[in-house]
């Protein structure tokens, strides 16, 4: 009998704590698979951040270190800079971690063109703490801390991180992808591979922003959540490649 699908060696054989319908699990698998396919698991160090993905160090089947809230790019800088060049270093960060408290760290590691790969999971909300507003929360979106819906007057406007970081000369590869259907999941995996390849070839800073779901805090079913990504998030956060200097560098 031919095996059609099996666990990836890129993830440990454990259950995750993620909610039903949350796409963190898919994204974990994409990253794990990519590292496994590259034969890079043994020479990879991942940096977990604070948020729902704080326990990702228990899931990725490679060396992992866990950073303070928002500081993963700085920690990754420290790891990458002192290890031999063949080591791959990635951060796995949510939107609260990366785009709010960690905005300084992500901008400056990008500006320095740190040769790291950032997996940025954007679900437009704080999941771990119970559904508070994130910098990426959409206009009108109701959260625990924007109960009347986000308004520009009260809470300001959402940040498009990929577009912003693409303006920095230090960035080499930046793409925004989504996980709301199979075709997009496959595209997301390609983007992740390109990002790690960028690092493997010592070409500098790479980031993949992945639109993700939070059925629990959005108050939607898993199916509705996928639809919400498509109907609400993608129009504000258009998918595509925002920076690709892999050939030039």
């Amino acid at each position: 009998m031919k095996t059609a699908f099996e666990r990836t060696n890129g993830l440990k054989d454990v259950d995750t704590h993620y909610c039903p319908g949350c796409t963190h699990g898919i994204i974990h698998r994409l990253v794990g698979e990519t590292l496994a396919e590259m034969g890079a698991l043994e020479r990879t160090v991942g940096v977990a951040s604070v948020g729902c993905s704080v326990l990702s160090y228990d899931y990725f089947n490679c060396d992992m270190t866990q950073a303070a809230h928002g500081r993963a790019p700085a920690v990754a800088t420290g790891v990458k800079r002192v290890l031999p060049d063949d080591r791959l270093v990635f951060t796995y960060q949510g939107d609260g971690d990366l785009a709010s408290i960690g905005m300084g760290e992500i901008v400056h590691s990008a500006a320095r063109s740190e040769n790291i790969t950032v997996i940025f999971v954007n679900n437009a909300i704080y999941g771990m703490t119970g559904g508070q507003m994130a910098p990426t929360t959409l206009m009108g979106q109701k959260t625990a801390t924007s109960p009347l819906g986000r308004s520009s007057a009260a809470q300001g406007l959402p940040i498009r991180v990929s577009e912003m970081l693409a303006t920095l000369d230090g960035t080499t590869y930046i793409e925004r992808v989504s996980t709301h259907d199979v075709a997009h999941v496959m595209k997301a995996k390609k983007a992740i591979r390109k990002a790690f390849d960028t690092q493997e070839k010592n070409k500098g800073f790479s980031m993949v922003e992945i639109l993700s779901t939070c059925p629990t805090n959005w108050g939607l079913t898993p199916e509705e959540s996928l639809q919400w990504v498509k109907d609400e998030m993608i129009p504000y956060y258009p998918l595509g490649i925002y920076k690709d200097l892999r050939e030039e560098r």
Binding site: V54, D63, Q66, A74, R81
Partner: protein, 355 residues
């Protein structure tokens, strides 16, 4: 190698390199900026890495990363910047990562000023960040001692897997004195770092470095392990200089640069026939409680002198436990106590005046 005339801040840098530290992440702040500049120049010369971070917060987290990867690593700052590093130091303590953090302290609170101060005693010796932890703190009084204590700091960090703080002040950082370095440099390679996250290649299962334990029982176990380690450090790493205490009627407790000024005042008093001794804590944590406790049984009074409004004096009083009167003299705001001022405080002891 012979003697060289160097600035304190630069001595710290060279001492770190001699101790086998080839990685430095830092951010400029007066009065420690010469250390950052020294590392920027020297580390590439010896094949190391210097990186100027975008903030103190980033610097300490870069240190966390480099320490995770098993390297001897240092960062430095001065009081306001050091406060910013406290979050990271708590994480280093929790994740049990070795690193050396320098604080060339200045006047506070807030932005304060850039003059020397010892008003960071509480924040360096009492944990400083969140959670139950301590960091060993070493406080050199002269530039030659910086070399010795920097080497000690890295050794303690690696041996116990803990962040260690080297505490000076603006005066120590800015002054020049002749110093002599050992011909031999250290590598730190004698410490097995099989816990380091460097990639699993050749060493089995994936390793995890974290300070998180969502399970309360496990987190308590982690705390017990940390506390056991701290008791071991207290037993093994307490360091103190004691001068003329045996037959003294009075004893001054002072550390760092202030101990030097106190020593000059003591010499003056002894010329006048007043028997004064000096206890100089070199490790501020662990604090040399025993010698202070023992001494307090045999003296008429103890005077603590600090460039603060009275911080270390609390530890002195805890050690003395009422066995002798403890008075305090301090200057704040970056003002350095003079020999005469301390001398006058010694005279007050004789008159039984305690403040």
């Amino acid at each position: 190698m012979g003697k060289v005339l160097m600035k304190g801040n630069e001595v710290i840098g060279e001492a770190a390199i001699h101790a086998g530290c080839y990685y430095f992440f830092g951010y400029p702040i007066t009065p420690q900026s010469e250390l950052v500049a020294y590392m920027a120049k020297r580390l590439p010369e010896v094949g190391g890495l210097f990186l100027q971070s975008e903030s103190e917060v980033s610097a300490i987290n870069m240190v966390y990363g480099a320490a995770s990867a098993g390297k001897r690593v240092m960062t430095s700052s001065s009081s306001p910047g050091f406060s910013l590093k406290q979050e990271g130091i708590s994480y280093l303590a929790g994740a049990e990562l070795p690193a050396v953090i320098v604080n060339v302290a200045r006047g506070g609170p807030g932005l304060g000023n850039i003059q020397p101060s010892q008003s960071d005693y509480f924040q360096v010796t009492k944990g400083g960040g969140h959670g139950d932890y301590h960091t060993p703190v070493l406080a050199p009084a002269n530039l030659q001692e910086i070399i010795e204590l920097t080497s000690d700091a890295f050794r303690i960090a690696d041996q116990y897997r803990t962040p260690v703080i080297l505490l000076g002040d603006g005066m120590l950082g800015q002054m020049m004195e002749p110093v002599e370095f050992n011909e031999k440099t250290e590598t730190g390679d004698n410490f097995m770092k099989d816990w380091a996250t460097t990639g699993t290649e050749g060493d089995g299962l994936p390793k995890v470095i974290t300070s998180l334990d969502l399970n309360d029982v496990k987190l308590e176990q982690r705390n017990h392990r940390l506390q056991a380690k701290y008791r071991k450090i207290e037993n093994n790493e307490t360091k103190v200089e004691v001068k003329n205490v045996e037959e003294a009627d009075y004893v001054i407790v002072a550390y760092g640069t202030v101990a030097r000024i106190a020593h000059s005042a003591i010499e003056k008093a002894r010329q006048d026939g007043i028997k004064v001794g000096l206890i100089r804590p070199i490790s501020l944590w662990p604090f040399p409680k025993k010698i202070i406790s023992d001494t307090s049984k045999n003296v008429k009074a103890i005077l603590t002198v600090e460039m603060s409004a009275g911080q270390m004096v609390e530890d002195v009083r805890l050690a003395v436990e009422g066995k002798s009167p403890v008075s305090f003299y301090g200057r704040t705001g970056g003002i350095i106590p003079t020999v005469d001022e301390i001398y006058r405080e010694i005279l007050k002891l004789g008159k039984g005046v305690t403040s």
